[in-house]
Amino acid sequence: MIHNEKFKIEQAMKGNARTIMLRGSIDEDAVFTPVLKLGGPLVFNFRGVTAINSCGVRNWVNFLKELSGREIYYEECPPLIVRQMNMVPSFVGHAKVRSVFAGYVCDDCEHEKLVLVDSSDFSGGETNLDETITCDSCKKGEMEFDGHPRQYFAFAK
């Protein structure tokens, strides 16, 4: 749908909702304006976003303002997007966050894993997430939540 060397937008229909898949690096060159022409509720999937800088954050916030009054959902937000959501509340704006990834790392074998967390598990900024889980790579170590759960889910307060 939209391409530059570093950033790509694709769309897919899931039921009645249009899902906008964002991939690559959101920076000063990222352009979102063609999305404005699309109708109906918009679901932004951030799973493929690999980097974002301050210019990208500003671009996104300005873009989101142009979508005021529209139904917006965020899903599969990786930790780097969650960090922006916590630092810059207008990055979320009026969007509803459906799911985010939480990072875990094994203290034994250093295996990393992203676990998808549904909004029902972080409503109000409180989370009932497990702080440790068994490592599915070495099977003996414990994987720790990579960060502080309260700080990580602060965007949902």
Binding site: N53, C55, V61
Partner: protein, 246 residues
């Protein structure tokens, strides 16, 4: 030194004043907006070693080297805007940084902001305009330097980026912080570049931030990024020093 009691409309602070207390970064930004060049938040308050080191250095007209500025840092040079991505990877591929996603992504984010600031906002042409535009692919002139110094430790990482422009002034910093912390939502929309937001993002992610500006010659921005086990959002320091001609 004053006891910490934040207030938006307080009088202009002296640049030599050291604010010490235990408060959130939003309050620190208010002090900085009021003119404070040195703001330390920690449970020890005035007896904190970084506070004492700052006061001592200010009395002597020096710039202190804090204990988090670890010796033996590795050095990398950046000559083009595209090269910064490789340099960032070189830093984050270090085993002590690579191990934790949280720290790795913080380092990536901070370095990106520091390097783009050094490349695009430090150098000016003879008309006083920015020499390099943000979306341009830039090859720095031979005399224009951008350097990274870094050294990881078990509890975090020391990062430093310097440029040969010496362009970052305190008024710029205070205004950036005011825009980003002065209301419920950071006021970032109307800005032409992301530099103000970048500084805010660095301050939010780092535990210690020190800016040393030698006007028209050099700016060095140093920071300590604590790992997740040692990160406390209310323990931090901000210091801005401007070297003056003797």
């Amino acid at each position: 030194m004053r006891a910490a009691k934040p207030h938006y409309k307080e009088k202009e602070r002296e640049s030599s004043e050291v604010i010490a207390g235990h408060f959130p970064k939003r309050d620190a930004a208010q002090y900085i907006y009021s003119g404070a060049h040195h703001v330390h938040s920690c449970s020890q308050g005035a007896t904190d070693p970084f506070v004492v080191a700052t006061q001592k250095a200010l009395m002597n007209g020096d710039v202190p080297t804090y204990s988090w500025e670890l010796p033996g840092a590795m050095e990398l040079e950046v000559a083009t805007s595209a090269e910064r991505f490789d340099r960032i990877k070189e830093v984050t591929n270090n085993p002590l940084i690579k191990k934790y996603r949280d720290l790795r992504e913080k380092v990536e984010g901070i370095l990106e902001e520091l390097l783009t600031n050094a490349i695009y906002h430090s150098y000016f042409n003879i008309r006083g305009e920015r020499k390099y535009k943000r979306r341009d692919s830039v090859k720095l002139d031979a005399q224009e330097t951008v350097k990274i110094r870094f050294i990881p430790a078990p509890d975090g990482i020391f990062l430093e980026v310097s440029d040969g422009g010496g362009a970052i002034r305190f008024d710029h910093v205070r205004n950036c912080f005011h825009r980003c912390y002065g209301s419920e939502q950071p006021q970032i929309e109307a800005k032409e570049s992301g530099a103000g937001l970048g500084l805010y993002m660095i301050f939010e992610s780092a535990t210690h931030l020190k800016i040393v500006c030698d006007p028209y010659k050099r700016t060095t921005i140093s920071c300590w990024i604590a790992d997740k086990g040692n990160f406390d959002p209310d323990t931090f320091s901000f210091n801005y020093f401007e070297r003056r001609k003797p």
